[in-house]
Assembly symmetry: C2
Homo-oligomer: 97 residues x 2
């Protein structure tokens, strides 16, 4: 993962609405949550939510799977783990220097 990819992930997590969506999806686990459910829970317009979702997808933080006419959103755990690893490894506190 390049620094740009990590920065992109942070950037997309750096908005309260998107962070709420992401947090909600992590809680939901494997199957995820439909766009409509997110819309109802967060109370924001379709189009606005749709843009936020595609931002998260573009950063590789979440993915979407269709089931009939419902689109489920779910977390890309590999990406989440990469981000956590970056903070722990690349940004580790090294007092031994």
């Amino acid at each position: 993962m390049t620094i740009e990819e990590i920065a992109k992930a942070f950037k997309e997590l750096g908005h309260a609405t998107r962070l709420l969506v992401f947090k909600r999806l992590v809680k939901a686990g494997e199957k995820g949550v439909s766009v409509g459910t997110l819309k109802d829970e967060l109370g924001i317009p379709n189009s606005t939510l749709s843009h936020h979702i595609s931002s998260l997808v573009s950063a590789g933080l979440i993915k979407q799977q269709r089931e009939g006419r419902v689109l489920y959103c779910s977390v890309e755990y590999d990406k989440l783990l990469s981000v956590i690893s970056f903070l722990q490894d690349e940004c580790c506190i090294d007092e031994t220097k």
Copy 2:
């Protein structure tokens, strides 16, 4: 920490230049790195760097301490730990549901 504060931290880390600065400061440890050194290492203009630094300060991710005419920037570890904790706790992978 509110969701807005966490989002703000992610937002400011969400830019390649700022993320490089932050990473550099974490590596540097307690004393930090001067603005001038960052400028030389990253090769970006004073004013641009200064804005990025104040963004990181505004998110509480770094702080500045003057020593003579040199301003040192250093990481606010509490904030870094909060961000890591958020990802691990609030965004934990819970397969037990």
